[in-house]
């Protein structure tokens, strides 16, 4: 089971269908948008892990704008651009703006699935690290409390031992008096 939600943004209905079928077959959850504008709307109202967007689309909102919108919305969204060979320079520019990768048309699905798997593994690792850190923080603060209490208790017992020792060594008091004071001191510990 793949738990990534993928948004496909492409104005070509054939490519949209194709991607939808292939991704669904690999058990990814798929959302579709027919242009950048609808893409951004979908992003704003759904949880999305990966955006797969065409670079060149008709209208004001192209792949770059979808990328910018997605990154603005949530830094952790991964954006993969789909480009024609002729616009590879633009795709490289997009990488600088935070795109995770680009794929050339026609889409090589083996390549695409490999990238998605990588993203999925990466997310799992990050999630694990966060969980571990959180678990560690909880353990650490509980341990700190216990240790601090023990530290104070040990110090107070030590000071009782010290005063008992000095009573025991106090030769100005007779034996019975020393025992009495020591017992009193011991009782005060509880």
């Amino acid at each position: 089971m793949n738990n990534l939600t993928i948004l496909v943004v492409d104005d070509d209905p054939v490519i949209r269908r194709l991607l939808e079928q292939r991704l669904a077959k690999e058990k990814y959850k798929v959302l579709l948008a027919e242009d950048g504008y609808v893409g951004n709307e979908t992003l704003a109202s759904n949880h999305v892990d990966v955006v797969l967007t065409d670079l060149m689309m008709p209208g004001d909102v192209g792949g770059i704008e979808v990328l910018e919108f997605a990154k603005e919305l949530e830094r952790n969204i991964e954006v993969i651009l789909i480009t024609a060979h002729s616009s590879i320079d633009t795709a490289v520019e997009a990488m600088k703006k935070g795109a995770s990768d680009y794929l050339e048309k026609p889409i090589n699905f083996t390549e695409l699935f490999l990238r998605l798997e990588k993203i999925s593994t990466m997310r799992g690792l990050v999630r694990n690290a966060q969980d571990l850190r959180q678990a560690m923080d909880v353990t650490e603060s509980t341990a700190a409390e216990t240790i601090q209490n023990l530290e104070i208790t040990a110090a107070s017992l030590q000071s009782h031992i010290d005063s008992i020792e000095s009573i025991a060594n106090n030769h100005e008091l007779d034996f019975a008096e020393r025992v009495a004071q020591i017992l009193k001191n011991i009782q005060s510990i509880r």
Binding site: E140, A143, A144, I147, Q148, E151, I152, A155, Q158
Partner: protein
Amino acid sequence: MLKIQPAELKVIAQYIHDISGIYLDQSKSYLFETRLSSIAEEHGCNSYQELYQKARKDAGKRIERQIIDAISTNETLFFRDNGPFELLKHKLLPEIIDLRTPSSPRLKTNIKIWSAASSTGQELYSVAMVIKDLIGNQMDQFNFKLLGTDISDSAIQQASYGKYNKFEIERGLPRQTLQKHFTLFGDSWKVKDELRAMVNFRKLNLMLPFGGLGKFDIIFCRNVAIYFTLADRKKLFNKLADSLADDGFLIIGSTESLTGICPRFVPKRHLRAIFYQKKT
């Protein structure tokens, strides 16, 4: 990854202990391999024994420094555990300022604070920020000496530079504090000059004599003794007691304890934090 042989474990563990005091469990060979294999490769060594020999012969001690950087855990964050910094602000600083303010108003108040394993500097800069926020525009009446020391060259280097990436910043620094004391520097942040000017960093191995550091009013020695053996911890805290003013304060890590380690210190509790003072 280059595998470590059982016979090498003992030699390497001993060597690491000798140069840093750090005790690595010999039953965990992966600890050695993950941290040292790339150094061995870099110097063209086919075994850890060979790396050890090369490191010993290396007059410039470059390999030794690399090994120390690789085995030391520099994990730290701004305002780590929070409690000690609240303590500093509400109790330790006001008390020490009271004690140290000279009777003549023409004289400055001298206060010395030491972060004894400062790593990449977050601890000492956190102290500096607490001081600045507490004292505000009366800083000219004080002469604060804030010293950070560490055995790791690369840690000292980053601390001195005072530059932190967004992950380091995100851990522990509230937005307001960030904007007050840091400036954006590319995609990282740099401590402002006036904060940087309050602190000094230098290399020091806590296992060796401290030299002429003098006495401090407040010492932070947190999350470093945990890597040492019991015997080394005893020596360390004994030396720290020598370096602390008689009415000074010691702060250790939130999960550390001095029970059975240094009877010269007594723990005291304030709010939710613990600090130590020398027994009178």
